[in-house]
Amino acid sequence: MCQRAVRLSLFCLILAPLSLRAQNFKIDGREVQIHGFASQGFVHTDDNNWLTMQTSNFGSGEFTDFGVNASMQVTDKFRIGAQLYDRNLGGLGKWYPQLDWAYAQYKLKPWLGFRGGRVKTVLGLYTDTQDLDFLHPYALLPQSIYPIDLRDATLAHDGGDVFGDISLGAKYGKLSYTAYGGYHEQGAHGGYAYLLESDHLTFGSIGGVQYGADLRWQAPLKGLLIGASRENQNSTSSYTVNLPSGPIPIRASDNADWINQFYGEYSWKKLLIDAEFRRAWDDNGVKNVSEFQVNLHAWYVGGAYRIVKRVQLASYYSRYWIGFPLSDVEPAGTGHINDKVVTGRIDINRFFNLKIEGHFMAGVGLPGDYPDGFYLVNNPQGLNPNTNALVVKGGFNF
């Protein structure tokens, strides 16, 4: 771990000066663009340990990520590229690099294009850009919809997209669509694996087919975007139960998971307002042995205002509740997290930014049953119902 941290520091030190400009070169007369980003965070909580880090004493700086990509416009319509991503967040990521995306794109017409390979999934406003800290005013996106510990649950698929923009004329705006299908896989260093392993199970794999679509409308009112996404997932997970009598391999299937997400964004001059609602249904368990459903409702409303060129203030209210099994009624007292957040962002220059953020949370979700930020293994003393957190995060991109 220590060696990896040293390596990352060296990487950042080398990269930072280079970041003044993107590093481009040519192959066979065609330009290859290299871009990258990195961020380093620090989290302190007044009580419960959060996001698999030991945050409640001095705080934790185990909150690092970086990515680097290369892409080439091969012809007017055809482009290729790939991005590597690596992170260490408490007990997640653990510095194991991932192929974040790697695909070929052919854009036949503005209204018809194709992508194939490992493709970032378009789901709501920010699923495909959730790691790109420099794009967002917040240090942590609303955890109700973009839980950082379940980052890879909906992040990408190995398969293809069909996409395009359809102009509806000046009076009616523009429609953008993406339809996709492929295979998704959650890594061994994400929240599900962490939860299983904290129950002394050995994680094997989680993956399966996913397909879905996103439709978004750029309204004729300048700055207004409204959209809806739907995703269906089938997953098979394998893990091992370690009993004194010996290990027992388990294979579980989810065959009817889905997510519906509705969203809107409005930008006007220096103001940005965004809101999303997500309803998700997970069908978990081992057939005829242990079956249960997860019923999740999540939403947030946020706003950001750039008070001067380099300073932005932002805030959101994020609410989430999760229930077992079939009830649409929020369980009393447990299963929810309400998070009030205020953020200040300073853009030091085009490449570097710094964010300071306060979280005021009520509720801890369902620790021990679902990976939603608070884990029993990190809080052996038990969890208090409220948590306040300070997040400081710096990032750069080139």
Binding site: A22, E31, Q33, H35, F37, G67, N69, S71, Q73, D76, R79, G81, A82, Q83, W101, Y103, Q105, K107, P110, K120, D128, T129, L132, F134, L135, D165, A170, K222, S267, K269, K270, R306, K309, D347, R350, N397
Partner: protein, 227 residues
């Protein structure tokens, strides 16, 4: 067959020269390989926000930005309607999800002109006073709804019988100059089949528009057949 009608041109798309607020302080410049002499603000927006990479005439284009300066500020405000930070975020999202390249940007008008002059399909913007040697200056045109010159009388062009029988169809683009009184002063053919063009010019010459304070130049697109 010819007939007089007061129908607005539902089947015709007309464009007019942009309000001078869009064009007065800036010039849109392109590499001479770009075929078109005109560009609409909607096309500018689409190209510079990476929504499209070609003009309506099919020319492939590559946007080129200035990094800062008065021309850049005017361009962002008048053409794209976004702040510098929003533009940076827009391209950040595209580049870091692999959907587009980061466009080139330069520090000065002279650098933009030099790059555009030597790069096939490049299109950029410079301040109105900049030298544009080696590049082509595109005339900015806006949708007719923004011109303030409503079409009052429209004569349908004759579809030459021989071409109809042969199934030859197409779109003709005309440059039309309208007097302050609303009469068509001149019509010239910009593109399309010359026989269809001749027929379209003849008809358009008899169109009348609402009166306006000055002479207005429009780009008129006339479809024939199945177009």
């Amino acid at each position: 067959m010819r007939y007089r009608t007061t129908l607005l041109a539902s089947a015709l798309l007309t464009l007019s020269l942009a309000p001078h607020s869009l064009a007065a302080d800036l010039k849109i410049v392109a590499n001479p390989s770009v075929r078109s002499d005109f560009i609409s603000p909607a096309e500018v927006r689409g190209i510079f926000l990476a929504e499209t990479d070609s003009l309506k005439d099919g020319s492939h284009v590559e946007p080129v930005f200035e990094r800062s300066g008065p021309a850049h500020k005017i361009f962002l405000k008048d053409f794209l309607g976004v702040s510098s930070e929003s533009l940076q975020n827009h391209y950040g999202a595209l580049v870091f999800t692999g959907r587009s390249s980061m466009p080139r940007s330069f520090n000065s008008d002279a650098e933009v002109v030099a790059y555009v002059a030597k790069t096939r399909g490049a299109i950029g913007y410079v301040s109105a006073s900049a030298s544009t040697e080696g590049v082509k200056v595109l005339e900015v045109v806006a949708e007719t709804s923004h011109s303030g010159r409503a079409l009052l009388t429209q004569i349908q062009p004759e579809y030459p019988e021989t071409l109809r029988q042969l199934g030859i169809s197409g779109i003709v683009r005309l440059k039309v100059v309208i007097s302050p009184q609303g009469n068509v002063e001149t019509v010239s053919l910009l593109g399309g089949n010359p026989i269809l063009g001749e027929s379209a010019m003849k008809a358009v010459h008899e169109w009348t528009y609402a009166a306006g304070p000055t002479t207005t130049t429009l780009i008129v697109t006339v479809p024939f057949g199945t177009h």
